[in-house]
């Protein structure tokens, strides 16, 4: 059996355990969709200007915004918390002692997270198409898919890297939420940013969430020709590469105590 097949097989076992874990299912799959419904019901009727001369319903804005949140949730949050959990129970050490290659195990985790992210984005898009006529323009579809894949990879790498900072499984949800919740509010995801100004704009643009959200929303709403957001990709890529180096250097297979 070659190693790639081993990775896919491992992802299949990860998924099997995942769908039997009610908490993981809820927080990864149901939680983002719940936000989508709540935000669109409460704020959905207003209009916002998303680009020069382009105004959309707030509900329409939330479709790609919550799609971006779903990707962050399935990749960053899910991987950081579940990997910390497996590390604390000793499951990671067990795997590390087996002949399964390290990269195949990590690839399996990321493959599973990306698959979850794609399912969620499809659900968000279907929701948008069904209720707000917010269909994806075909000319920006490739950019949207590319943004989705790059974002999923970057946030997966950040999730793995974050486990090196998380002291134990009990602390994992707190650490993860502390790192993303404030950013979700100032990064054009939970609250649409119309002409963001001052420090919110500056702080948001330092971190990858704002860039990912802008790229997802921009390509979904067809705000620029091809929808390709090169500058956003550069910042996301830098974070991804940084996370990769940090993860490779500091990742631990055993509990950190």
């Amino acid at each position: 059996m070659n190693d790639l097949r081993l990775a896919v097989r491992q992802a299949w076992y990860i998924n099997k355990a995942f769908i039997r874990n009610p908490a993981a299912l809820f927080f990864t799959l149901v939680f983002p969709l719940m936000f989508l419904v709540i935000f669109t019901v409460i704020f959905g009727n207003g209009h916002i200007q998303v680009g020069p001369g382009k105004t959309v319903l707030v509900s329409t804005f939330y479709v790609p915004a919550i799609a971006a949140f779903s990707v962050i949730n399935a990749c960053y949050t899910n991987i950081a918390i579940s990997l910390s959990g497996s590390r604390d129970t000793g499951a990671l050490k067990r795997i590390h002692g087996s002949p399964l290659p390290v990269w195949a195990y990590m690839a399996a985790r990321i493959l599973h997270a990306v698959a979850m992210a794609i399912v969620l984005v499809v659900i968000c898009a279907a929701f948008g198409a069904a209720f707000y006529g917010a269909t994806l323009p075909t000319n920006t579809l490739p950019s949207f898919l590319l943004t989705l894949v790059v974002g999923a990879a970057v946030f997966s790498a950040l999730g793995v890297a974050m486990t090196a900072v998380i002291p134990n499984a009990d602390a994992a949800p707190a650490v993860v939420n502390a790192t993303i919740l404030p950013l979700l509010f100032i990064s054009n995801i939970f609250i649409p940013l119309e002409n963001p100004s001052g420090w919110i704009d500056v702080v948001g643009k330092v971190f990858p969430i704002r860039h990912f959200a802008d790229a997802m929303i921009g390509s979904f709403l067809g705000l620029s020709g091809s929808g390709l957001h090169v500058n956003d990709f550069l910042v996301m890529g830098a974070w991804g590469i940084g996370a990769l180096f940090f993860g490779v250097r500091f990742f631990r297979w055993e509990p950190r105590t």
């Binding site: 059996m1 081993l6 097989r9 491992q10 076992y13 099997k16 355990a17 995942f18 039997r20 874990n21 497996s86 129970t89 000793g90 499951a91 990671l92 050490k93 067990r94 590390h96 002692g97 087996s98 002949p99 399964l100 290659p101 297979w253 055993e254």
Partner: protein, 307 residues
């Protein structure tokens, strides 16, 4: 010629200022059941985890089946089965799924049902790990270690938490594997287990080897003597002259330590028969491996450097 499955020479490992392993050397022959013993904190788990490839050594040479375990070489990992001190498997998978998952990592795994049966979990095959008792999880751990049909098996306190029946079964399984020519590297706090299983024993204390040999030879070098114990009625009168010096009286019970149990017993029983005295609860105890172990490690700790 018997090759060595494990060779360790001058192994050293420190955690910060604490020297856990201070230069130990030993070999394990292929097909041997080898036990590494020592009190908590003696450096056992550190040594085992270096051999398993989980930890890197600070100095010395280590080879397992001809490979350096620190390299993480997959050709070694596919021949090695490991039971760690703490269990760690996904709680949401079933026993059968867990065993299958691990079987998939090895080129020539053992049949799933055979592995599950070996550890006596066939009734729990479809049960999720969350539903297993502590002892059953431990047995699942052993099953995972056997899944790849390894040439060498590292068992770090494998029967902790087993009930006596399960323990006996596990011992039989380990004996059976040894019979198939597998090398077994065992650590344990149960001297019964070691006496039953091990061909050879190394005892470490404070990071150094303090004794090694077969269980029999270790018991043979024991300096304390055979112990004869019995209760003596008040009416019995004085013991025979030859035994009086060695006897310790505690209420009605008597203990005699002797280097010559045959003669001492002869003196004692012929005296008792002659005087018509009944020696209730007569016991003759050879020092057990546990006594030997306690004596050796106590001495080693007494001379060890103070912390």
């Amino acid at each position: 010629m018997v090759a060595n499955a494990v060779e360790v020479e001058g192994l050293r490992k420190a955690y910060g200022p604490v020297e856990a392993v201070r230069g130990i050397s030993f070999e394990v022959a292929e097909g041997e059941v080898f036990a590494l013993l020592g009190p908590n904190g003696a450096g056992k788990t550190t040594t085992v985890e270096i051999l398993e490839g989980f930890r890197h050594r600070d100095g010395g040479k280590v080879s397992v089946l001809g490979f350096d375990p620190a390299s993480g070489d997959r050709r070694l990992k596919v021949q090695m089965g490991v039971v760690l001190q703490t269990t760690g498997v996904d709680p949401y998978l079933t026993v059968a799924e867990t065993v299958d998952m691990f079987r998939g990592y090895y080129p020539r795994p053992r049949a799933r049902d055979e592995v599950i049966k070996l550890v006596g979990l066939e009734d729990k095959s479809g049960a999720r790990v969350t539903r297993l008792s502590g002892g059953q999880r431990r047995r699942l751990d052993v099953a995972i270690a056997l899944a790849g049909d390894p040439q060498i098996l590292f068992l770090d306190e494998p029967t902790t938490g087993f009930d006596p029946g399960a323990k006996r079964n596990a011992w039989e399984v380990i004996k059976g594997l040894a019979g198939l020519g597998k090398t077994i590297f065992l650590t344990s706090h149960s001297m019964d287990e070691v006496q039953f299983l091990a061909d050879r024993v190394v005892i470490i204390a404070a990071g150094r080897i303090v004794a090694e040999g077969t269980p029999e030879s270790l018991m043979g070098r024991q300096q304390s003597d055979t112990l004869i114990r019995f209760r003596l009625p008040d009416s019995a009168g004085a013991l025979p002259e030859a035994l009086r010096g060695a006897a310790r009286l505690d209420g009605g019970s008597v203990e005699i330590e002797t280097k010559d149990p045959t003669r001492a017993l002869f003196e004692l029983t012929s005296w008792a028969v002659q005087k018509n005295v009944s020696l209730d609860g007569l016991q003759v105890t050879r020092p057990s491996l546990e006594d030997v172990y306690l004596e050796i490690t106590r001495k080693a700790e007494a001379v060890g450097t103070p912390a």
